[in-house]
């Protein structure tokens, strides 16, 4: 969930009142956001610099609220949107109406899209904010919102990248092109000298902030770039803007371009930028459109601030909540959530029409209206009820059986442990003197550490590892686990399947080989015919590298099927796990005994 930092006093000023922290927390809880932390700029700086509480740092003492918002509410990612939503929610403000300024098509600014852009980043959408008044706080919020959008919906600029420019430094029309890197030269933001694009990429490899975006275009033969009619570079998306058109506190007219691989998200991002900051335009909430001329000649005007129309019967909205309200109350609740609603009747049925504003891209379905009505009504005011359906409870036979086996082994004096399914490749194979023939183990593609390389194919390393961590415990140590292992399985839709196992380990000054056999005998006795058939002799000698020779065997049913194995753990294996005393290990396939 994204977290937005806003100055408390500025937030309260925007809300038109102050709150105690407790009251503000209660409001957040009700609305579905969370006051995550209360801090100050100074405290944040100290933390970053790892200073003590009294360390001297720059920054001010203004109280900062860190507020966690829902991941699909891009309209809450800045103070402007957050305050607006809460004002409307508390009924102190009506829903804003966003307008496109009416300028003739012929005098609209234009963005020409060149065909090569389709090779790397095919979409661009633009808009202009006229007569904006920035101050330092508004300016910072404007920059922060772009950052937050880049981190969230833009998926670290891969899907969408935003460029904002001082329009008065540029000359329309603009062009969105994709050129070989060596053909692009410009002075990037915060730099003095001009760079060739390929050199610039090299330069940014040491830039902590920008280096993580380089991969998006680095290996492409062409880089996306936006020019004005004087061939001034506006931006090299998604990496950096040009220095020439940089926004300052005195900028009045702002040109916004969003380049993207996902057009839907580009439109949402552009709409979010203009609906949030048109608040500071000379004509509040008015946005100037830009005509995008595609390489096939077709034209689209952006932004699209039209409302998405939805309609649903009143009963469809109230039914899933389980409350009864009249249509006027529902309209009122929807309005509190910035959803412009009205009711009408057709054929004796009350229906609710909703105009979803461009700020609420999260509304996809009438079910989203249900949620908003429920939030505005108050989740904690919804009367509780009981589902009427009668059903019979029950367990999975395998799990119930596993629990019976667990109880049996615990009764035999063994201590249950619970270990991880993920393990290192070395523990699962080499440390057990086993080799990986690549036909068994599920392998993780992106392990964070070596602990998470493979899914265990046996419980053996897990128990030895657990024993090692408790090696000072008094002998004898008798531990067991019932759990799943995984193996590759072409007969399964995903290509791998679980297998439920029982494993037990005995460790003492002597091996306990017969002790473990006694445990197996008792299990064989309780699962025996007619369910599972064991012959007179069910131990068959084996020759596996993880055990001492001549002190190991497999456990077979009367039809010769192997259901388990046991042995005195080989000295080499014990050494690798750091265990000084002899151990006997047994592992059985529980599913085969079911």
């Amino acid at each position: 969930m994204p977290t937005v930092s806003v100055g408390r006093d500025r937030l309260f000023a925007a809300l038109g009142r102050t709150y105690t922290q407790e009251d503000f927390e209660a409001l957040c809880f009700e609305f579905g956001i969370e006051l995550d932390d209360v801090t100050t700029e100074k405290a944040i700086m100290r933390k970053e610099k790892h200073l003590e509480d009294d360390g001297e740092v720059e920054g001010d003492d203004e109280v900062i609220y860190k507020i966690e918002v829902a991941a699909n509410r891009y309209d809450l990612l800045c103070l402007e949107g957050l305050a607006r939503a809460l004002r409307v929610f508390t009924g102190t403000e009506a829903n804003p109406v966003f307008r496109i300024s009416s300028i003739p098509r012929g005098s609209m600014l234009q963005m020409h899209v060149k065909p090569q852009t389709s090779q790397i980043r095919p979409h661009v959408v633009c808009a202009v904010l006229r007569g904006v008044t920035f101050d330092e706080a508004r300016y910072n919020s404007f920059i922060d919102l772009q950052d937050k959008l880049h981190q969230n919906i833009c998926r670290k600029r891969t899907l969408v990248a935003i460029g904002t420019h001082d329009l008065d430094t540029l000359v329309a029309p603009f062009s969105y092109e994709a050129l070989p890197p060596h053909e692009i030269n410009f002075v990037p933001l915060k730099q003095e000298e001009s760079f060739r694009a390929d050199k610039l990429m090299e330069f940014y490899k040491s830039d902590m902030k920008l280096k993580k975006f380089l991969h998006i275009i680095e290996n492409s033969p062409v880089y996306p770039v936006i020019y004005d009619s004087n061939r001034t570079v506006l931006s090299l998306p998604p990496i950096i803007n040009g220095a020439h058109s940089a926004i300052t506190l005195t900028t009045r007219n702002v040109f916004i371009e969003c380049t993207a691989t996902d057009l839907t998200k580009a439109k949402i991002v552009l709409n979010t930028m203009v609906t949030m900051f048109s608040e500071y335009c000379e004509n509040k909430f008015e946005v100037e459109p830009v005509e995008v001329i595609h390489h096939d000649g077709s034209k689209t005007v952006y932004p699209d601030l039209s409302c998405y129309k939805m309609e649903a019967p009143l009963s469809d909205i109230l039914g899933p909540i389980g409350i009864s309200l009249d249509e006027k109350q529902v309209v009122c609740l929807l309005n509190k959530m910035q959803l412009q609603a009205e009711s009408h009747s057709s054929k004796g049925e009350h229906r609710i029409s909703v105009s979803v504003p461009p700020t609420r891209s999260d509304i996809l379905h009438a079910r989203d209206l249900v949620e908003d009505v429920a939030i505005a009504y108050g989740y904690n005011n919804v009367p509780k009820s009981k589902p009427k359906c009668m059903t019979i409870g029950g367990r999975q036979p395998l799990n119930r059986f596993s629990d019976k086996i667990r109880a049996e082994v615990a009764r035999a004096g063994y201590m249950e442990v619970l270990t991880f399914i993920l393990s290192s490749h070395e523990e699962n194979f080499d440390m057990l003197n086993r080799t990986d023939d690549k036909s068994k183990a599920v392998i993780i593609a992106n392990p964070r550490t070596s602990e998470f390389e493979v899914v265990r194919t046996s419980l053996m390393s897990c128990l030895l590892k657990t024993l090692k961590h408790n090696i000072d415990h008094p002998r004898p140590i008798k531990i067991f686990e019932v759990g799943d292992v995984m193996t590759l399985d072409p007969s399964c839709d995903v290509g791998a399947s679980n297998n439920r196992r029982l494993a037990a380990l005995y460790c003492n000054r002597v091996s306990g080989f017969e002790e473990i056999m006694g445990l197996v005998d008792s299990i064989v006795k309780i699962v025996r015919a007619p369910h599972v058939k064991f012959g007179e002799k069910y131990y068959v000698p084996t020759d596996e590298p993880e055990f001492f020779p001549k002190r190991q065997c497999k456990i077979v049913t009367s039809d010769g099927k192997q259901v388990g194995y046991l042995g005195i753990v080989h000295a080499e294996v014990l050494r690798k796990f750091g265990i000084p005393d002899p151990c006997t290990f047994v592992e059985m396939d529980i599913e085969a005994l079911l």
Partner: protein, 498 residues
């Protein structure tokens, strides 16, 4: 019966005597009358006194006792008497006498000469002659008297003291009479009941020695179950009481399709990032997916339908085929709901599961890369948010959390979504205990579930309530190979639902 010890005989003799005569004025003489040492009698007296069977009064007396040297004189006579006795009528040489008497010779010569019991032949100082026929050995008499405890004149004492033949010694003995608990035959106190007692009928007369209840019992060898599994069982029982059936969750490898796409979780969702999810190298991709259903899922993501506008992006099959370790058991719930949708006519279900899920996250005191998810869901016509709240209150109050509050939240596959908060009396604040919601129509309708069927569901981790329940602050003490055996051994009973 065990053979009677000498001490038992002494005790029997003493008690019999007390029974008939009422007292023993002097334990020393009583000991000699029994023919045992006083030390032996003393042990019996102490034991009987402790049980107040006899009352004993200490008699303390300082007496002169003979040194080892004096004891020899008392037995064989004084050195001078010995000397005289050793001299034959014709006399004897000093050397001969010395050889005969040893150490006593020098002393004997001096004292005998002083007593004028001996003389020397004139001119031959070496030949010792006897001058008296019989000597009265007074010293021996006095020593014998002392040995018997008789009184001797002070003059004699002084003389013996000077000759270092006696030393002063304190001796204790007792006068005895019946104690308040007097019995003629004392019972032996039993410490245990034996088969022999039962067989012989002795148990009727058994009297037990007091037991030390301050001591601990013997440590026993026993088996133990993992605390997390105990809590799992308790929660399972709650589900079953509430009519829920367990889902088969033994399927850790899942396709992105079942884990994400079928849940209407868009392909660009951050949870599908490699930073959060374990993707697989082998088996890298799933082998088969239900094609008809897949087509519907694709459509609803791309362009909507079922009343939804969809996400409006290019849905990619490759992305859906990517295998992973399931990030939630809801992947299994989804399979179960899809299966349920294929069964006609529709029948309502309550499903639950408690099993492992995997997150490619950094591990710390409260987070592990694998943990157990508890999940419950109900699928039926006309279920409401009110029903969800009602079920959650039933479920959580069984876990001891009866004060609940719900906060609006976001989850791609539930709408409405509610975070569940419970008031924690210890922490004195509301803590998040789980997530819940109603599955989105975009998830249920492509499966083929009838319109009007809703699914209410909730989930939480098994580890968190267990840690709170047992006051464990490091998850690795509870789960994984670094588990502390002593923690498992000392773990109290899980009383959830009791």
């Amino acid at each position: 019966m065990a053979e009677k010890s000498p001490a038992a005989d002494v005790e029997a003799g003493l008690l019999a005597h007390l029974n008939s005569t009422g007292d023993v004025p002097d334990s020393r003489s009583f000991a000699s009358s029994l023919g045992v040492s006083h030390l032996e009698l003393e042990g019996v007296i102490k034991s009987l006194s402790a049980f107040r069977i006899v009352d004993s009064t200490d008699i303390i007396k300082e007496t002169w006792v003979l040194t080892d040297e004096a004891k020899g004189y008392a037995a064989r006579g004084s050195p001078e008497a010995q000397l005289v006795a050793a001299i034959p009528p014709e006399g004897a040489s000093k050397d001969a006498l010395k050889a005969k008497l040893g150490d006593a010779f020098d002393v004997g010569m001096k004292a005998a000469a002083r007593n004028k019991w001996i003389g020397f032949e004139k001119g031959n100082k070496d030949l010792v002659l006897r001058k008296v026929e019989n000597v009265r050995d007074e010293m021996q008499e006095q020593l014998k008297k002392l040995e018997k405890g008789e009184v001797v004149p002070d003059k004699v004492i002084d003389d013996l003291k000077r000759r270092k033949l006696i030393t002063k010694e304190k001796s204790i003995w007792y006068s005895l009479k019946k104690g308040p608990e007097f019995v003629v035959k004392r019972k032996t106190l039993a410490t245990d009941v034996t088969t022999e007692h039962l067989r012989s009928g002795d148990w009727k007369d058994l009297e037990f020695k007091d037991y030390n209840y301050g001591a601990q019992g013997q440590p026993i060898a026993k088996g133990y179950v993992q605390p997390l599994m105990e809590v799992r069982e308790a929660i399972e029982n709650i589900f079953i009481m509430m009519g829920f059936t367990e889902m088969p969750t033994n399927k850790f490898v899942e396709s992105s399709f079942w884990n994400f796409d079928a849940l209407f979780q868009p392909q660009q969702h951050p949870a599908r990032d490699s930073h959060d999810t374990f993707f697989l190298k082998a088996p890298a991709a799933t082998r088969q997916l239900p094609e008809d259903y897949l087509e519907k899922v694709k459509q609803v993501h791309q362009s909507g339908g079922y009343g939804s506008k969809g996400y409006g992006y290019d849905w990619k099959r490759d992305e859906a085929e990517k295998n992973l370790l399931r990030t939630h058991t809801t992947a299994v719930s989804t399979r179960m709901l899809y299966k349920l949708a294929q069964e006609k006519p529709f029948a309502p279900k309550r499903y639950y599961s408690i099993d492992r899920v995997f997150r490619n996250e950094a591990v710390d005191r409260t987070h592990l890369a694998e943990f157990h998810q508890i999940e419950g869901l109900i699928c039926d016509y006309g279920l409401t948010l009110g029903d969800l709240i009602g079920v959650l209150e039933d479920f959580f109050s069984s876990l001891g959390m009866s004060k609940l509050r719900f906060k609006p939240a976001y989850n791609p596959y539930t709408e409405p979504s509610m975070e569940i908060f419970s008031y924690h009396d210890g922490l004195k604040k509301w803590v998040e205990v789980g997530n819940s919601g109603m599955f989105r129509p975009e998830m249920l309708l492509p499966m083929g579930l009838p319109e009007g069927v809703n699914v209410i569901a909730w989930g939480l981790s098994l580890e968190r309530p267990t840690m709170i329940l047992y006051g464990i602050d490091n998850i690795r003490d509870l789960f994984g190979p670094k588990v502390d055996f002593n923690l498992i051994k000392s773990n109290p009973l899980c009383r959830l639902g009791i």
